[in-house]
Symmetry: C2
Subunit: 270 residues, 2 copies
Amino acid sequence: MASPDPSLLSLNTATVSKQWTLAQMIEGCARHGIRGIAPWRDKLAEMGVTEAARAIKANGLTVTGVCRGGFFTAKDWLDDNRRAIEEAHALGAHCLVLVVGGLPGGSKDLIRARERVKECISMVLPEARKAGVRLAIEPLHPMQAAERACINTLEQALDICDALGDGIGVAVDVYHVWWDPKLEQQIRRAGKKRIFAYHLCDWLVPTRDLLNDRGMMGDGVIDLPRIRSWVEAAGYAGMHEVEIFSERDWWRRDPDEVLRTCKERFATVT
Amino acid sequence: MASPDPSLLSLNTATVSKQWTLAQMIEGCARHGIRGIAPWRDKLAEMGVTEAARAIKANGLTVTGVCRGGFFTAKDWLDDNRRAIEEAHALGAHCLVLVVGGLPGGSKDLIRARERVKECISMVLPEARKAGVRLAIEPLHPMQAAERACINTLEQALDICDALGDGIGVAVDVYHVWWDPKLEQQIRRAGKKRIFAYHLCDWLVPTRDLLNDRGMMGDGVIDLPRIRSWVEAAGYAGMHEVEIFSERDWWRRDPDEVLRTCKERFATVT
């Protein structure tokens, strides 16, 4: 199968978050010919949203997403999601990624936690629509159900989308969904209408940490070309965002080397 | 909701595998009034199957399962599964648990790996039926898809069961399935006909290792009474088997303390 169009590569700032400021990341993308960026909000706050928007525009980058809204388990979730929507609007982001939060402290009631996520999204969705910001639910790997997100499959996320209507879709991150027996079926179901983002990295064998041991594309066991073929067949024509949390490896490397490797692997193994 | 019948507690030998021989485990169960046991085959091999069967019978224990068959990725999988069936037969075990294996070395083809599992089970199933040994597919947590089992949801396991007919069912281990949005639905679908075993432990927050950091019932976030209510409502009336892999905690404790704690927690939090 043919390589993806190199101009579709986007950098999620988590990938070099320990090494660079957002200003350096924007310059880095420009220097390496990477045409998209997806900033995390801590980096945005450091730089200031107005200045970040200016620099991103000056360098002609597409903002494939803002990470993240959600965490409906937090006390200030409503204000925080409103601010996230404003920031995504200010950057002209393709979507605001929602990491929905896990079990509220002390609770074991996963069913209630999931109902609450749906209720909370339905409360912020009108404001997101008004701002022209699409909300992308990111189903996280089941191993993160307790701590980070109680939405754990594409099927579950799409059921919520179908219940809530327009302006809500999904971020498909291969790391979180590669194992799912219903992946192809649910990507087809999502279609162009619901797939707002596509995230890349790899699943290492062995994986030594539940959160920060993701691999560079090609270093793990995910069949990336196959999943890409499903996403493309579903009509997704957006960018492919590399997001790697890697305490032991990529966060310790020279960030220019990281970006060069992302580009090379994107062209050869995805 | 009422506590489970104390006589339904069974000990999976993994729980004290670092401390005791199988002979000690059998005596330990008898001493603590635990009425069921599920031996792993390495322990069985050490003791000898004939002697183990004799001691188990002499102590009046029920064998809730033999761990494990499966691992269809191994070179000698067919002979090994035949031996496992013989051992389960010799012990009069309620089932032989199948941990099906992950991706074959070097492969990224999860779809093919899953097809192969179905083919391999269909090859050993006639022999298992002849021996009167029920095969229980144990869906493992998606975080173990690459290394230990490419069957990762109850829905996926039940699809295989439905395709293969009688004598094949599932082992429902709360650790592997607690996160599943379709858990209640699929337990109902499985019913009495397909649920051959029910395994207990807990999901710790944080979980520090993908394999050997399981918690004692009550120490984690799994809503054990709720899952039990679903399993009972589905018609399952068998034993509840405690299986805890715990490098940092329970494998380091006095095994009599472990068994006492299993009994107490079984009565109070499951």
